[in-house]
Subunit: 123 residues, 2 copies
DNA sequence: TTCATATATAAGCATATGCTTATATACTAT
DNA sequence: ATAGTATATAAGCATATGCTTATATATGAA
């Protein structure tokens, strides 16, 4: 007969991110478009208009994805001129960094999106 | 003036898991219940009836979560007697292993689920 | 100012998701 | 066989999600 019994006691001072918060963050990675965006952002910052050209969805759809990522602190924005550039902001989220470390590079991501070349000008 | 131009060419023989497949797998981690299950499964196999006691959802809900995880090859089942035990099956999914490596241990997970003790008998 | 470009927001819609209850199936013991 | 326990499946429902089109806002150029 097996009895599994677990006594639980966790140190109080510990900073443990809530399980549901981690899940909420990971949920954002569970979308093909956002996962590709974040994988591309490993390499450099990208402009919204570049994403609009890369992905086969509307510009509002792009903005909505970025809004969600920004709301959870996974990306940050940088406005320059009429353009908005996004970059990764995951220093305190090791589980996201861990995933992105495993993702292929930008070339491979773009090839899977059937984009052999992108050509966007941001002055 | 900045021109971002990327020429894409990827080796053909490479085994690259499709971006959407990775996203589909990660999507399963984006649920509090499933993320907790997988985190607990890092330590040992768990019986369905244990999960039923740990989580505050119905037994069918537990079964449905496990079915999804099994369908994507993230867990495998092992029937013994009238019980079904589940264990991790992520050897070929580095991005999932990477996330679970970052998750707290079973004690911490259980404490976040407000379970100070579980006591299930599987003969 | 006026226009063009870049981005964000609002509203609506179709589908996906996670849960419930009810029921079916499987295995054990009497 | 019959009953009890463990698990899975079916059906239905409320909410979440990702997209669209339409419109608003912001910036730069003429």
């Amino acid at each position: 007969m097996l009895i599994y019994e677990v006594e639980v006691e966790v140190e109080g001072g510990e900073v443990v991110e809530e399980l549901s918060n981690i899940a909420d963050n990971l949920k954002l990675l569970g979308d093909k478009t956002r996962l590709a965006m974040l994988s591309l952002l490993k390499e450099r910052e990208w402009c919204v208009c570049e994403f609009v050209e890369i992905f086969d969805i509307s510009q509002p759809a792009i903005s909505q994805h970025l809004k969600k990522l920004k709301a959870q602190g996974i990306v940050k924005e940088n406005k320059r001129g009429q353009w908005v550039f996004y970059s990764l902001h995951i220093e305190d989220k090791a589980y996201i960094q861990a995933v992105l470390d495993q993702m292929p590079d930008s070339k491979t991501i773009l090839s899977q999106l059937n984009k052999t070349q992108i050509n966007v000008v941001c002055e």
